[in-house]
Amino acid sequence: MMPVAADSSGELRSPLHLEHVALGGVMVPFAGWAMPLRYSSDLAEHLAVRRAAGIFDLSHMGEIRLAGPQAGAALDHALVGHLSAVPVGRARYTMICADDGGIIDDLVVYRTGDDAYLVVANASNNAIVLAELVPRCAAFEATVTDESAETALIAVQGPRAQEIVTSLTAPGDLAAVAGLGYYTGLSATVAGVRALVARTGYTGEDGFELFAPAGEAVGLWRDLLVAGKLHGLVPAGLSARDSLRLEAGMPLYGNELDRTTTPYDAGLGRVVKLDKTTADGRPLDFVGRGPLAAREHSEPSRLLVGLEGLGRRAARHGYPVVMSPENLDVVVGHVTSGAPSPTLGHPIAMAYVAPGLSALGTELAVDVRGRGEPVRVVALPFYRRPQ
């Protein structure tokens, strides 16, 4: 495994590091990496993704390859989802949980072949996920290989993403790439680079994520920027990535999800396939099954809700949710993520609250640095792209 270059501060560098610096990227530490927070303006980058397209460097994320005749069975055991039932060419959002049902990471898993899967983990959890997968898969005929250091990940997201990516796609792959449905992927040549091209993303817009060899990332990035220029493509950083996923109601590990949370708390019980069976109908056990099954039918102690800010000040991660703006002492929950919404023009937040207060329309407040700001429970996602 080739280590990526680290700078004097000890942070890992993406293969695209110098591109970000040349583009005016403000580099900040993120999960042990130096990554661009923004290039110009958070708001401009966010709005560009909603209106045209943005290009993101996600090379810090983890890519772990599972291969072998029992790769699917191994993942059925290691993860909460039914991965062996995923057709070749499709992707699944899933989770890896601990013995007690707490979430270790949320993942996207791509089935790239009959006996091959690519597990994509958050940068902050890649080492932990790998350390869990290896022993969990040991009893199965499957190899677990960390390919993160050799894999670059570039996302192009927005209504113009299809035009941009297809304009660089090799003629033989063009129809297939243009026809990719949501949460599907295939191997294709884009800008002369052989990549896994997937119609997935973390923005709530149409778009693609391209997994390419790290050594070819710079050429691919530059060619996408050039091709995207006349479509309004801009480079977009971590700040825009966070405000976009928040508007789209997507959870962030470390905020909405953590080791003390089960998928059910976060409203993501659908990823837990308690009834997964083998082809001949035998029930499949998986790590965390017992506590998760118990949790599925029990009363939750808290539920994740969307909050629409009725004032001007945004609730932020960790702020208390209270019953009313006048009484900050009665705490009924806490904010997991919050920010002004560039698309909607008002503050938005996700929060865990007592189940009795989770009904849509419930009026609550958030203690924003000592002042009560009124909020209202709304459905997630806050934003849905026009179809």
Partner: protein, 123 residues
């Protein structure tokens, strides 16, 4: 690229101060760039007492909240309502249309010359 007008004085907390009666102050280019897109200003009211070096307001951006420290002791006589209504003025014109407060002064806290402030931010 950050600019620092010669005819202003500065503080270590990245405010600028324009002499006069009343004085005018705001935040520098360095501060507004570091904050990113400013979305909300929490300002004191007209008539509020200011203490040099103490927090007198908040400047909130998409990603963070920063405290505003008063460079002077005195009384607020005017708040820039245009900036309160459109906080992006503080990003686009921090020394002009993005001014924050005007105040009468009873005492002034430690101030830096433009050369001293430039040296501090270069470090």
């Amino acid at each position: 690229m950050s600019t620092f007008p010669d005819d202003l004085q500065y503080t270590v907390e990245h405010e600028w101060l324009a002499a006069g009666d009343p004085v005018t102050f705001g935040i520098t280019d360095t501060a507004s760039e570091a904050l990113g897109d400013i979305v909300y200003l929490e300002m004191p009211s007209v008539g509020a007492e200011l203490t040099a070096g103490a927090v007198c307001g908040e400047i909130e951006s998409t990603k963070s909240v920063s405290e505003l420290f008063s460079p002077v002791s005195g009384t607020v006589v005017e708040v820039n309502q245009a900036a309160v209504d459109d906080p992006s003025l503080v990003n686009s014109d921090p020394y002009g249309a993005g001014w924050l407060l005007k105040a009468t002064v009873t005492a002034t806290g430690p101030l830096l010359t433009v050369a001293e402030y430039r040296a501090q931010t270069a470090g």
